[in-house]
């Protein structure tokens, strides 16, 4: 499929036409930060965003997702897939979605995630501003982003739109697109290559070296205790992570005491009770009871355990965890540097 071009002057009409055709989600400002939200008008769209508070995973699996609604002995699915366009996803988040697509479909096919994933057309976009904590250029660098339907790049005078699937190509009808020139395609490639040079943080070692060293540090309890000393067990590093996928399921009743809903919530392995399990007869045990053990588990998951399955670390370098950690101890670059030096 060949790349297309749309002028800056025509872009807003393109977004307006898409919004008229169906729900469109994209990055919008929220106070001093950005979030993915349903667009009401093209003016809200902020393709110059650096990073959103939560990754786009939330559109397929919201932080609290009703799975079923029940009434006495009857129940029905609460999942209601919505045909929509998700516009303006940075490539690191595309990689995150590619990972959760796999993790939610291998073995147990998670229809509650996949229902909305499969009805969404994803348009990735170039990174115009790089967040202070991002390190996406130095993690999984050899692994291309995939799973999106088109890629939009801001260049001189307009945007290059590269359709990658039929769904992506179908969006062309909403705007005044013309074939992109070779020079425009070359400029788009240059813009995207340059974004990779703008991260302030980077891993100094290969994913293989990191995996080997982190795994070897498993029994170094002093190291993990030191790294986790200021940990609040608040789980923010998990909650904002595009590759985290654990959840907790709870029932709530409506006030009629007969009907209600079964809801799943994003869970976080850094929180104190995550690994608290029942031993029966009211007894419980927490198999990761200390901050150090929980902290270690996150780094094992992100840089060791899933690498073979994913073909890359379970981290895309978005830097959300680094920024979300109030104690500022979650930054994968700094933590892994410390482990490599141990």
């Amino acid at each position: 499929m060949s790349s297309m071009f749309i002028k800056d002057d025509d872009f807003s009409a393109f977004v307006t036409t898409m919004i008229e055709a169906g729900p469109v989600y994209g990055p919008v400002a929220k106070r001093s930060r950005f979030i993915f939200e349903r667009l009401e008008s093209p003016e809200e769209l902020r393709l110059d965003y650096d990073v959103t508070i939560l990754p786009p995973k939330k559109l397929f699996f919201p932080p609290a997702q009703d799975l079923i609604r029940f009434d006495a002995d009857e129940f029905k699915s609460a999942i209601d897939p919505e045909e929509k366009v998700l516009l303006g996803v940075h490539f690191y988040d595309v990689k995150g979605l590619d990972q959760t697509d796999l993790l939610y479909s291998e073995r147990n096919f998670d229809s509650s995630y996949m229902a909305n994933r499969q009805t969404t057309t994803i348009v990735a976009s170039n990174i115009q501003n790089v967040s202070d904590r991002a390190f996406f250029a130095s993690v999984g660098a050899g692994v291309p982003a995939k799973g999106h339907d088109a890629f939009l790049t801001s260049i001189t005078g307009g945007y290059v739109f590269e359709p990658l699937t039929e769904r992506g190509e179908a969006l062309l009808k909403h705007g005044a697109f013309v074939a992109a020139t070779d020079a425009q395609v070359a400029e788009a490639e240059k813009v995207n290559a340059e974004a990779l040079t703008k991260c302030k943080e980077k891993h100094e070692h290969s994913a293989e070296d990191i995996a080997a060293k982190v795994a070897a540090a498993f029994d170094n309890e002093d190291l993990w205790s030191e790294l986790a000393e200021d940990c609040f067990s608040c789980g923010s590093c998990n909650t904002v992570c595009p590759t985290c996928y654990c959840f907790d399921v709870q029932d709530t009743w409506n006030v009629d005491a007969v009907s209600g809903q079964r809801t799943r919530y994003w869970d976080a392995c850094l929180t104190a009770d995550f690994a608290q399990v029942s031993l029966g007869e009211g007894a419980t045990e927490n198999f990761r009871g200390s901050r150090g053990e929980r902290f270690r588990h996150r780094f094992m998951r992100k840089s060791v355990y899933l690498n073979d399955k994913l073909g890359q670390p379970a981290c895309v370098g978005c830097g959300r965890c680094s920024a979300a950690c109030t104690a500022d101890i979650a930054d994968p670059v700094r933590v892994i540097d410390r482990i490599m030096a141990s």
């Binding site: 001093s32 609040f232 709870q250 009743w253 006030v255 104190a272």
Partner: protein, 250 residues
């Protein structure tokens, strides 16, 4: 079996948490009455009971030794005791006096010697009697209270969060107070409120108390290094709703 009998009792408190029960709006509150029989609730009815109770909600802190007998009497005839509101769960705001000895003079002035104003340190009611469940908050989250009752009606264990408010802020994409140059205690505060205060731009004051294992040294460090507090202010910051927990950790 008839409807479970529910009663409300109060000790040292403002009774605001009981008032919260009347804030559901008419429909949910009246619908709840299809499932429970309220036998004592002085905010909304004049009747009292000396009969056995299925669920006793106890509001207020235990701060006078003379209240012990009444608490024990309630415990004896209640199948389930729920500490209701922050005063009853941790001592709440009343525990602010626990590190002081001149509070009677500056609160009550020339009346301070009146005998009914005499009190000791303020604790949650579990300092006097066994408590089965805790409904945290100043005031309680009435929707959580409703779920506690509905879970008990179904013979299920109520689910009370032991994770911090940060979880709820992140889930709703609230911009962190610290990222806007402010302070907050959400990192150590027990969630379950759905974090409305930071969402409105107001720091969390931990009105539901701390999580079970709060990292207080890290809290003080962050308040000093990131919010610019003096070490003393950082140390005292956590006291408003959690004086007893703070004392236990320091």
């Amino acid at each position: 079996m008839g409807k479970p009998k529910v009663a409300f009792f109060d000790f040292a408190c403002c009774e605001g948490c009981q008032i919260e029960m009347t804030n559901y709006g008419a429909e949910p509150f009246l619908e709840l009455l299809n499932h429970v029989e309220i036998v004592e609730f002085r905010e909304a009815m004049t009747e009292k009971t000396t009969e056995p109770i299925d669920i006793a909600f106890i509001e207020g802190s235990f701060t006078r030794e003379c209240d012990r007998a009444r608490l024990e009497e309630i415990r004896e005839r209640a199948a389930i005791v729920i500490a209701y509101g922050q005063c009853a769960t941790t001592g709440g705001i009343n525990a602010l006096k626990n590190h002081q000895d001149d509070y009677k003079e500056y609160v009550y002035g020339t009346d301070s010697d009146m005998p009914h104003l005499d009190s000791q340190k303020a604790y949650g009611v579990d300092a006097a009697i066994k408590v089965d469940y805790y409904a945290y908050g100043c005031p309680v989250n009435k929707y959580e209270v409703l779920q506690i009752v509905l879970h008990l009606l179904h013979g299920k264990e109520p689910v009370i969060p032991n994770y911090p408010v940060c979880v709820e802020c992140k889930r709703r994409e609230t911009v962190c107070r610290f990222l806007e140059g402010d302070h907050c205690m959400g990192m150590v505060a027990r969630a379950g409120c759905t974090a409305p205060c930071p969402a409105a731009g107001i720091p969390c004051e931990a009105c539901r108390g701390f999580v079970d294992d709060p990292n207080i040294p890290a809290l003080e460090k962050v308040l000093v290094e990131q919010a610019g507090f003096t070490p003393q202010r950082a140390h005292e910051k956590g006291r408003m709703f959690t004086a007893n927990a703070l004392e236990a950790t320091s």
